[in-house]
């Protein structure tokens, strides 16, 4: 029998983070060639850097997967108003824990990426918006920024040039909606983080203080440094067309070795990730379902067949194990790779309980600005919780679906979709379990999830 080769990680962003002698101090970063790309950037024209980022094809790592170079292109440079750069470090999508590793273990990589980006867009000031639960992360960043300032890598007259850009760490206070870029901006202005309506409030035009603003994820900004190092063209050869670079996949739930793994986009399939990289399922269990890109993405059933056509016209016929791990793979089977958070569920999971758990999250996190989302997310929580309390009704599956369908597309921000996609997909894929709850009442599930 030929033993299949385990796919090998290719670490670019996390190249140094887990090396035994590596620390988050400036001296260590400098020893590893740190800030050399910032020096290179300052010898270039700002717009040349933007061109490289565009050429690289790098897509945002926060969840939406929008090309970062394009985002930068949208920046309104003619308004005469100051330009701001914000790093979205609010990492809160359930199942995602990659930015944590970068900020705690390699903060200077983020600062270097940010200062290159700030110079490229000619930002007047830059902010890192970090979730408040990362107490130590915020302290590490503050200290790293102080170190970088003392050596002129950020702050006043960077590298002795005429360009200055102050970098400020700003802590949130436990609200998921602050990860939505316009909600984040409201929060940074000292207000409740109610997202703004687009149009007209595209951050690149009317962002922080109604000034042009770029909001990028931690991993995306780190990539800027590597794009400069390789050149946009070379970078675009990593991974696959339209899916360039590496991604840090976060695997959680019921596998032997949950964790974060950096691979070239498309270098492995879901099956290779679960069985070869993560050591497979827990003893004696079988796979039931996978949520491929954070809890907002649509759930995939283990015994489903996925057929269709890829963008390039090739037809596919996949089982869950065959789905390629890149941006387009999970999207082509009706879900998304989102923030890269893969949540694995085995046969011990009661799907109504799992649904109730997710619905409790969205009911807690809705900002309350739009009626369909504020009311609907709470109703969905109440219905699924009631079902788990032995009060399930025959019509519940349809009722849930009807509520979810009335949220989607009727809200200011994408939270409405994030809250309704789980319910829509759970009902579509596991309707039998929802109906069985009504028929057989509550059979105590082996694992409590709500």
């Amino acid at each position: 029998m030929i033993k299949k080769k385990t796919p090998q990680e290719r670490r670019i962003i996390l190249k140094n983070a887990d090396k035994p002698a590596y620390s988050n101090k400036l001296a260590c970063y400098l020893k590893n060639d740190g800030y050399s790309m910032l020096k290179k950037a300052f010898k270039m024209k700002p717009e040349e850097i933007g061109e490289e980022v565009l050429k690289s094809g790098v897509r945002g790592r926060g969840g939406a997967g929008f090309p970062a170079g394009m985002k930068w292109k949208f920046l309104d440079r003619k308004s005469g108003k100051p330009i701001y750069l914000i790093c979205n470090a609010d990492e809160s999508e359930p199942g995602t824990f990659k930015d944590r590793q970068i900020m705690h273990k390699d903060p200077h990589q983020l600062i270097e990426g940010m200062m290159i980006a700030a110079y490229a867009i000619q930002a007047k000031q830059a902010f890192i918006y970090i979730r408040a639960e990362f107490f130590e992360g915020a302290r590490i960043l503050e200290e790293a920024i102080a170190e970088a300032k003392s050596k002129k890598f950020c702050g006043d007259k960077i590298l002795g040039s005429s360009y200055s850009c102050d970098l400020v760490v700003h802590r949130g206070a436990g609200a998921y909606i602050c990860g939505e870029e316009t909600g984040l901006i409201e929060s940074l202005e000292g207000k409740r983080p109610n997202p703004r309506i687009k149009p007209p409030y595209f951050p690149a035009v009317l962002g922080l203080y109604q000034c042009p603003t770029i909001v990028n994820n931690v991993e995306t900004l780190c990539n800027v440094k590597h794009i400069l190092e390789m050149g946009g063209e070379e970078f675009s050869k990593i991974g696959k067309p339209n899916n360039t670079g590496t991604r840090i996949w976060c695997v959680s739930g019921q596998v032997q070795k949950p964790g974060y793994y950096e691979f070239e986009c498309g270098a492995l399939t879901m099956g290779e990730m679960i069985y070869d990289v993560c050591g497979g399922l827990l003893p004696g269990r079988t796979l039931k379902a996978i949520i491929p890109g954070g809890s907002s993405s649509k759930i995939l059933r283990a015994d489903e067949r996925f057929t269709g056509k890829l963008k390039d016209g090739t037809e596919f016929d996949w089982g869950i194990d065959d789905i390629p791990l890149d941006f387009d793979g999970p999207a082509s089977v009706g879900s998304m790779s989102g923030s890269g958070g893969i949540i694995v569920m085995d046969d011990t999971v009661d799907m109504v309980e799992a649904m109730a758990n997710i619905n409790a999250f969205y009911a807690h996190e809705s900002c309350g600005q739009c009626t369909p989302c504020r009311e609907g997310s709470l109703w969905m929580k109440k219905i699924t919780t009631r079902m788990c309390d032995g009060e399930a009704r025959k019509e519940d599956a349809d009722l849930l679906l009807s509520v979810a369908n009335q949220i989607e597309g009727r809200t200011i921000c994408a939270f409405g979709e994030a809250a309704s996609w789980p319910t829509q997909s759970f009902i579509a894929k596991f309707r039998d379990e929802f109906e069985e709850k009504a028929l057989n009442g509550n059979t105590k599930p082996p694992l409590q999830l709500i």
Partner: protein, 185 residues
């Protein structure tokens, strides 16, 4: 309302970092809450005056953001992640054990003010669930039997000296040869 010299000077340093004073609101609230445990009406008014806005502009933040408080948590505040990835590893069981051992229900403060427990939404450490935070430190893989031992050590105030439960933050330091200088105070 009384604030220490240190907090006052940190607030003074903080405000000019922002192009508009109001932007400093969350950060100032954090500093005040770190010292006083909660934001009273007096504190609201004081912060508002400092930032040249109305007290309601602070109150609306305190009543929105989950981590801002109108009444303080216990001396040792225990946060348990309840979101799906941690729940799949048993965090509901972990919370039950902690409730029983610490003698306080989730969402409440024990009568003597010693402990409080709070169910949190995703703490972004899902690979090592169930995740529990005590104060500002994150502890990983606290499930089943582990949870009982964890609670015992917490009660005996031996958690920080135990080799069985090294917090995420402390393991960062032991991995690398640098001293832990980032800790405040």
């Amino acid at each position: 309302m009384e604030l220490s010299e240190e907090t006052l000077s940190r607030i003074e340093d903080l405000i000019p970092k922002y192009p508009e004073k109001r932007s400093a609101a969350l950060m100032v609230i954090h500093l005040v809450q770190d010292e006083l445990g909660a934001i009273s009406d007096d504190a609201c008014s004081w912060i508002a005056e400092k930032l040249e806005i109305e007290p309601i502009n602070i109150k609306e933040l305190i009543t929105f953001y989950p981590m801002l408080r109108e009444t303080p948590w216990g001396k040792k505040h225990v946060r348990v992640c309840r979101t799906l990835p941690c729940a799949l590893r048993g965090s509901y069981g972990t919370c039950k054990v902690l409730e029983e051992k610490l003698g306080v229900k989730e969402g409440h403060v024990r009568e003597d003010g010693e402990f409080s427990i709070e169910f949190m939404e995703c703490l972004a450490d899902c690979g090592e669930g169930p995740v529990v935070m005590v104060g500002e430190e994150t502890f990983e893989n606290i499930e089943g039997k582990n949870a009982e031992k964890f609670a015992d050590l917490l009660i005996q105030e031996k958690l920080n000296t135990s080799k069985d439960f090294v917090s995420y933050e402390n393991s960062l330091v032991t991995q690398s040869p640098v001293s832990k200088t980032t800790k405040k105070k």
